[in-house]
């Protein structure tokens, strides 16, 4: 069609516009980089938004210490390729110094501890805007999130008191100590992300592609095994052909049985799939409003 964009181009343009707004309206923005495909797409969009200049803000990784090795090496090589600065907030250090206390027992996760380290990292670096790769289609509480989401000086989100957001006029005004979470890919769906990765030929960690791995079944989900994971009595390790749909902390990132080993196969699989990706994340299963509760406290 002449003089009109297809939906991926329109979404890309919207996201690039938001990224440039961040660089203009804030003094110390940063990009939250988890190592998952959404943050990889964000990095790609940031590269496009400021080209031929470098991305004018650092990447921040909140490292739970329970990451896939490959996530870390991929992160390091991407940061080098883009020439951006990397800031790492370490949950392990917070635990070692006694600031954070580890959950115990089966199903223990460092997911909640991330919030504390994140807020500390924000304070230490005086970040005033954090770009995140969350999408509104992921979860019900996210569906109401603004592009520019205001956080008070405790880092909290007040869902009932959000600023109205009209047209593409974004209000990033704030008082000292407050900050914003900004979500440039709010309007993308999981399928959009995958289609975009395919059409832009974006490099991904091989974890996203089918491989063999030790896994076990818990609450109806396959979880990847790692040395620090405790198995319950009735849980057994199995060696399966799997791939990750999301990548985060190992303890709460599920894997799916899949033979898909190229982007075409993955896209076809996602398009035909009958479960949302967060259905695979143990952290959301704790209660019906688990995500909303964590977000209010300052989670991603």
């Amino acid at each position: 069609m002449k003089n009109s964009l297809n939906h991926l181009q329109e979404l890309e343009s919207e996201s690039i516009h938001v990224m440039r707004e961040i660089a203009s309206q804030f003094e110390r923005p940063c990009l939250l980089f988890s190592g998952g495909k959404d943050s990889i797409v964000m990095a790609h969009l940031a590269k496009k938004a400021f080209w031929p200049a470098k991305i004018p803000f650092p990447f921040v990784h909140i490292d739970t210490g329970h990451n896939f090795e490959e996530t870390i090496s991929f992160r390091d090589s991407l940061v080098e390729e883009l020439g951006v600065k990397l800031v790492v907030g370490s949950v392990q250090e917070a635990i070692d110094s006694g600031k954070s206390v580890e959950e115990k027992g089966v199903g223990a996760s460092r997911n909640i501890l991330q919030t504390l380290t994140l807020l500390d990292t924000i304070e230490q670096n005086k970040f005033d805007a954090l770009l995140g790769g969350a999408r509104r289609d992921e979860e019900k509480a996210r569906a109401k999130e603004r592009f520019f989401s205001h956080r008070d000086d405790f880092g909290q989100w007040d869902p009932k008191n959000q600023r109205p957001e009209l047209w593409n006029l974004y209000n990033g005004k704030k008082f000292p100590g407050e900050h914003f979470r900004v979500f440039p890919i709010s309007n993308w769906t999981e399928l959009d992300v995958w289609m975009y990765i395919r059409s832009e030929n974006i490099r991904l960690p091989s974890l996203y592609f089918s491989h063999k791995r030790d896994v076990f079944m818990r609450d109806g989900m396959w979880l990847a095994h790692a040395p620090f994971m405790q198995l319950k009595d009735d849980e057994n390790l199995e060696h399966k052909v799997v791939r990750c749909r999301t990548i985060g902390d190992i303890t709460c990132t599920g894997v799916v049985l899949s033979e898909a080993n190229c982007l075409d196969d993955i896209v076809a699989e996602i398009a035909a799939t009958r479960e949302t990706e967060r259905g695979n994340r143990a952290d959301d299963k704790r209660s019906e409003t688990a995500m909303e509760d964590r977000k209010k406290e300052g989670y991603f």
């Binding site: 343009s13 203009s24 569906a143 109401k144 209000n171």
Partner: protein
């Protein structure tokens, strides 16, 4: 989606943004649930979660409405209080739904959802016909210049799928539609609960020969909703690499707000009035032959002229209005009333200034469009024509002509909250 997924088709889809308005119990949530469900956009675990929740609540059927109620408070009270965004796609288009509550106390949410929409769905309960709220929702769509409005006459199953009932509603509608400024108005008789004419054609209404709702959503012509004539490029960000390779590079990045820009075009920069020629239009993927809305691009000029964020590139023979004195239709969004004589921050395209509220010309009754010249007290959810003066000139078009260059927001500087949405008259 089924296995016949064709990724090339998916790439070439257009994006349609629509809003839904309806009062409590008109069936808005059911309709959205129905659209998602019948177009196979609901995934199994989402459907199962809703089914379980319905059973827990002792409801006798799978309450598709639960799919769209996001926040805990809403679930507790059983109402929708904010704007929730939903996504689905069919092989033809990708859709973004801004789902907004319909009660008058949520006018600001409706306005927010409407601000980015290409299309509005307005629900009418067939048993009740056109009510005050129907008029209100229509006026909001008209005020925000949503190009396409579809009235869904819902719950047709409760009026025996009667053609007469439907026809009467349509003729009632004619009485007030003359006041609306909407390009394209459509009507569809539906039952959201039973599914008639939503995705699948109704067998109960053979007297209706028009398209189903989904067919309309998939085919309504939206490509010309953007202004492709009047060139407007608000400079958002100046790209300066400071690298050896791009030593003298100076690119003006932004989102095209109107018109088609091409290399070789003579352009003028506002406010300076200096002219130059477009040397190149850059993107990461390579230079473009032309750039049009809503593209994000970076424009390079032949001459070195001083341009920064908040400036605008236009064609010399087609400039927007330039003034510090502006009349706007203002939707007030805050509990604290509008202060005549008060000062607010104002955002317009990529510009942020301050403004003074000079006068309230009249207040508009959003249910009747009646103008009240006496009452100048503008509170939450009220709409008024207001004259303002900005600290520096704005370069703008009437909102009617261009939604990008005709819209502003007002911000209360004591708490930084967005308090008003303005459409330039």
């Amino acid at each position: 989606m089924d296995n016949t997924f064709d990724s090339n088709e998916y790439i070439n889809m257009e994006l349609l943004r629509f809003t839904t308005a309806g009062s409590v119990d008109d069936g808005k949530s059911t309709l959205i649930g129905r659209l998602l469900y019948d177009s196979k956009s609901i995934l199994e675990d989402q459907y199962n979660a809703v089914k379980e929740a319905s059973e827990r609540r002792g409801e006798g059927y799978v309450n598709l409405a639960l799919l769209t109620d996001g926040l805990r408070a809403e679930r507790e009270q059983g109402i929708t209080i904010d704007v929730a965004y939903r996504y689905f796609s069919t092989p033809k288009r990708k859709f973004i739904i801004a789902d907004t509550p319909g009660h008058i106390q949520y006018t600001r949410n409706m306005v927010t959802g409407a601000s980015t929409a290409n299309l509005a769905i307005i629900l009418v309960d067939a048993r009740k016909g056109i009510l005050e709220q129907t008029r209100r929702h229509s006026f909001i769509a008209s005020l925000l210049k949503i190009p396409h409005v579809v009235f869904c006459i819902n719950k047709m199953d409760l009026v025996d799928y009667s053609k007469e009932v439907y026809d009467n509603i349509l003729s009632d509608f004619k009485h007030f539609s003359s006041k609306l400024e909407v390009q394209d108005i459509r009507f569809v008789p539906i039952s959201a609960l039973k599914g008639d004419n939503v995705v699948n054609r109704s067998e109960n209404m053979d007297w209706y020969h028009g398209p189903t709702l989904l067919y309309l959503l998939e085919t309504i012509h939206i490509a010309s909703d953007h202004d492709l004539v009047n060139c407007r490029f608000p400079v958002q960000y100046v790209v300066r690499p400071f690298s050896d390779e791009y030593h003298d590079y100076r690119g003006y990045a932004g989102k095209i707000a109107g018109g088609i820009f091409k290399p070789g075009d003579k352009v003028m920069a506002l406010p300076s009035g200096f002219t130059s020629t477009i040397k190149q239009i850059d993107t990461y993927d390579g230079p473009l032959d032309e750039a049009y809305p809503p593209m994000s691009a970076t424009i390079l000029l032949e001459d070195e002229i001083d341009i920064s964020r908040g400036d605008m590139l236009v064609r010399e023979n087609n400039v927007p209005q330039i003034s510090q004195d502006i009349e706007i239709m203002l939707v007030w969004m805050n509990e604290k009333a509008l202060q005549i004589g008060g000062k607010y921050a104002i955002r317009h395209t990529s510009k942020e200034l301050r403004c003074l509220i000079k006068d309230v010309k009249y207040k508009v009754d959003i249910n009747t469009l009646h103008r009240n010249l006496e009452d100048k007290n503008i509170g939450l959810n009220e709409i008024a024509r207001v004259s303002i003066r900005t600290t520096q000139p704005l370069f703008f078009d009437r909102y009617k002509m261009n939604r990008n260059t005709g819209s502003v927001i007002l911000i209360d500087e004591t708490n930084n909250v967005t308090v008003g949405a303005g459409m330039i008259m």
